[in-house]
Amino acid sequence: MTAALTVSGMSKSFAGPRVLDGVSLSIEPGEIRALVGENGSGKSTLIKILAGFHLPDEGSAEVNGQPLHLGDGAASEALGLRFVHQDLGLVNNLDTVDNLALGVGYSSFRGGIRWRQERKQARKALAELGYHFDVRRTVDRLAMSERTAVAVARAMGPRQTAPRVLILDEPTANLPAAEAERLFALAKRVADSGVAVVFVSHHFDEVFGLAQSVTVLRDGKHVITRRVAGLTEDGLIELVIGRQLEQVEHDAKAAERQAVVLEAEGLGCAVLDNVDFSVHAGEIVGVAGITGSGRDEVARALFGGLDRTGEVKINGGAVPPLRPDKAMGMGMGLVPAERHANAAFMASTLRENITVVRPGLHWRGGILRKSPERADVAKWLERLDVRPRKPEFAMADLSGGNQQKVVLARWLRLEPKVLVLDEPTQGVDVGAKSDIHKLVDEAAAQGTAVLVVSTDHEELVRLCHRVLVFRRGRIADEISGGRMDHDVITAATIGRDQAGAA
């Protein structure tokens, strides 16, 4: 039988190290293959090469025995490669019919669109995938799995050539568990029709529940391709991280227990599902989890940036949802992720960036006194070693690390009772990163309760007394003491969901 897809010796580097290094693999028609590996292992680069986004340095590919012209999206499609990217690529305010027509056009168009016929075709395409819903509803009113179905239906939809390979890039990243089950059924139907299915996933329960075979990439290299049968979860984790999981003698920082400051009870928000936790004064608690685990929502849900259910309390007082001003007034500070979008005022001065929370501290006799304000800001710039130490410089003039320090200074200046840090060293150079870590330690030493959300597990080990591991919207594990280790955290974020049916 001719392989549905063959990749040979594929290599790619972006200005420096190889992100893909001589990867070869082959997939049979009707096979379901999981593609797994840590962030940066080369999975998405491989997929982007197949989709024609990147041109590889070396290597070739064949689809159904025919050579693929690399670097050309149209050629990929003409040979029958179909993609569903993580963000699905749907237009939210259009309905299913219109979304199916995006990029390929309306098949019934003959001087006018025959809407009745289009709707019939859309319903048929979805029914083949096991979905039945109103195709006239706009996408933003569909459940996440229904949206995924629309994206799959579009990928599998009529073209000049029949689909040979369906490639799903983290299709379940944003899917609650129950909806993920429906997606598995969908993938199986597609495979039963003779199409090879490749899916990228961080959820190992999916690998075991859905895939027949698995390919592991690590540091851009092909590690192994084997059948899933006979593989254990620990075995797969070792293949992914490249060494044996051992009991490490690396004790987490032990904190003397002080009073509870921050409490979350029954916290719910998007995928977050009824989560309870608390942070004590002087304690640094980490939050780890893959994308879609709820990790990315925790910080904003606590502070009021996102709507939520459940209670958030500071020293016993309830913080109302969607009121960042109240959260701030009660002593909470948030350094949000994605500084450019969520925290920095690029055209404003460092002074204004720091004093934007409570500028009134220098309000005397009906006037904001700028020279004491400048002195105050200069003091903070010095304490955080911000370069240049110029309060009147524009935020945009600073490097990423220095901007992040300015955002941190904004909150440290208020001496918060609770400090929530979301990816505090994202896009920050090594020097600034260690400075920021020291500042967080100092804040905790002075009694601030700190919650650090991070995808950088070394950072969590460096900073935290204990780490909460989120999986599928719940706290699946808590790591502290002797288990505090980078690999242990990584394994816990992708491990099997104890409660989930796999």
Partner: protein, 341 residues
């Protein structure tokens, strides 16, 4: 720690700017070209017109006329700064001005007295601001569209109040005195303008509210996550621009002593031109009070000079339209270079 210090090096500006560029920049900073270029252009304009039409332009009387006639535009423009600072347009300011003029004159024509008329006109301004803010903040209508619609509604309002024609009867001389009397040879509206400028300058530069306004205008999402109540501040901005437009309308009514439905329209474009041209001055990259004032008088001097030199009447609209486009282009450039730096 020493290693850390090396990696966190000085910012790009310091490294990238070569020696000649730096010297040139320092000179332009000393002369204030980067912040006060408008004043230089203004001086050049005055010089040109004084030489070109000395007997008409270069007189104290002409200076008085420019100051008096521009006081209203300047006040409207300053009211506009507030919503623009927080990233919202208010295209209904000219409509509010018109309604205010018609209201205060209508009250006198119908013998309710000018004082009551002034109070009602100011209240109408606040109501317009409130409705604008509900449209923008609660209904999430883009401010440009929402206030454009409002301006048409207000135009309908002026036609309804005036019955489509001019009202000039029953206007009290005590009332017209508010707009026409002079102190030290300058018409009173110039003093109102100065008072308003001081209040708004204080509000924007020396109060927490000013910081919040610019913060919201710079990055509304970051502002929200810094605990700023974006909706409330935006509402306040619309209330203030409505109130200032209504106040300007009261003063305009006193200057004119009459009301007609089309009285507000001509103030819209010059106000916008001045605000955006003003954003290239004094505090480049942000709309501000002194910059707006410089822009107003720069534009007015240009227009007046050209008129006195014999240019046709349409020069006014031409000049203001071109100035708006150039101003926004300059502001965009100032903003881009600030971000790039």
């Amino acid at each position: 720690m020493t290693v850390d210090k090396q990696t966190t090096s000085e910012p790009d500006v310091e490294n990238k700017a070569g020696q000649p560029a730096r010297a040139r920049r320092r000179l332009s900073v000393v002369l204030g070209f980067d912040r006060f270029s408008g004043l230089y252009v203004w001086a050049v304009l005055i010089l040109i017109f004084s030489l070109w039409v000395p007997d008409l332009f270069d007189t104290a009387n002409n200076a008085r006329i420019i100051a008096g006639s521009q006081a209203i535009t300047a006040m409207v423009a300053m009211g506009l700064i507030v919503p623009v600072a927080c990233g919202a347009f208010d295209l209904s300011i000219a409509g509010t001005l018109g309604v205010s003029v018609c209201t205060v004159i209508w009250f006198q024509a119908n013998h309710y007295g000018w004082f009551l008329g002034v109070i009602v006109a100011l209240l109408v301004g606040l109501v317009v601001g409130l409705v604008n803010s509900l449209i923008v903040v609660r209904l999430h209508v883009d401010s440009f569209i929402g206030t454009l619609g409002m301006s048409s509604i207000l135009l309908a309002g002026t036609e309804w109040i005036t019955g489509g024609g001019q009202i000039a009867n029953g206007v009290s001389p005590a009332f017209t005195g508010i707009g026409q009397n002079q102190i030290l040879g300058l018409p009173l509206p110039v003093f109102y303008m100065i008072a308003l400028a001081i209040i708004l300058w204080w509000l924007l530069e020396y109060t927490p509210v000013g910081r919040y306004l610019y913060g919201i205008g710079g990055n509304p999402q970051a502002a929200r996550l810094a605990g700023i109540r974006v909706g409330r501040i935006t509402t306040g901005a619309f209330l203030l621009s409505g109130l200032v437009a209504a106040f300007s309308g009261v003063i305009l009514a006193a200057q004119l002593g009459s009301a007609s439905p089309d009285v507000g329209g001509p103030f819209l474009l010059p106000a916008f031109s001045a605000v955006f041209l003003g954003a290239t001055q004094v505090f480049p990259g942000r709309v501000n009070v002194p910059g707006t004032l410089i822009a107003i008088f720069l534009l007015a001097t240009g227009v007046k000079g050209l008129q006195l030199a014999g240019a046709p009447a349409y020069i006014n609209d031409l000049f203001n339209g071109a100035a708006l486009i150039i101003a926004v282009a300059l502001a965009a450039r100032a903003y881009a270079s600030q971000r790039k730096a």
